[in-house]
């Protein structure tokens, strides 16, 4: 069982089949260095409401999640990429009803280039 809090989350996920990744209780996305989607788990499609719209090959930060195309998120990812070490975690939580506002995001390098984004809704 892969745990979202694992320090080696990316490596843990890379040992799974795509079918097993789809069954995780959090969303999983892999991007190439240019931010194009290489993998978009069925769990993320379902949990995010993105559904079965085509995702592969699309530029994640402009075509799928423009809300993350900002200095606070993408800016930090770019800075970490430039430093050669990509291991970030973000969290947003509040005492209100909209559960979509409660989110943890982890970003780690992929062993084959690019990086993984993992999203866990509370």
């Amino acid at each position: 069982m892969v745990e979202f809090d694992s320090p080696t989350l990316a490596r843990d996920v890379e040992r799974l089949s795509e079918q097993d990744i789809d069954r995780l209780n959090f969303g999983t996305i892999r991007l190439d260095d240019d931010g194009r989607v290489q993998f978009f788990s069925k769990a993320e499609a379902r949990l995010s409401g993105y559904g079965d719209r085509p995702a592969l090959g699309r530029v994640f930060f402009t075509e799928i999640a423009p809300c993350m195309d900002n200095a606070e998120f993408l800016g930090r990812v770019r800075a970490a990429q430039a430093s050669g070490k990509l291991d970030l975690e973000f969290g947003w939580f509040g005492d209100f009803e909209d559960r979509n506002r409660h989110l943890r995001v982890r970003v780690q390098s992929a062993s084959t280039g690019g990086y993984w984004i993992f999203l866990k809704r509370d």
Binding site: P7, N70, E72, R76, A79, A80, S83, G84, K85, D87, L88, E89, F90, G91, W92, F93, G94, D95, F96, E97, R101, H102, R104, D122
Partner: protein, 172 residues
Amino acid sequence: MDDKSILGLERNDSTNSQGPAASGSIERNIKSPGLKRLYLRWRQLLLDGAELPGLRAFDFDSDELSPHGFVVAVEGDGFRYTFVGDALVKRLGRSPVGETIEGDAHELFGSLQATYRQCRAQQAPCYEFVRYALGDERPFLFERLIMPFFGGGDRVTHLAGVVLFSDLTPVH
């Protein structure tokens, strides 16, 4: 429906002397014990008080985290700093007390404008964190807790927050 019901934070009858019932998202995810204590104090004030939490009753200035804290007054669609703790002033290199945040104004500690608006609109605390490392530097943790305060009725008049930066032990 009273004000606390509007907030979705009405008293839980199962609450006992150990404090308020687990409130969910923030309590489960908040990292620093000090921030959790502050958040629970706000929540206790909400549960115990006859009115929604007011800044004076919270006595933010005397809290041990107040050097890392700030208070903004809600003024129309904007916010004005009325207090910024010494630790934050030192990090900023100046005191923003008296400055207003409006429109797309410069942000001091991240996306403040969006967070302030959310906290005011939802009338509920907000908590954010970023765990971050660059190159071989020690990873650090940025945390921000913002709580709404009321001036009678259900109108948010102030937001008070704490910003913490903590060094973390690297994971190898």
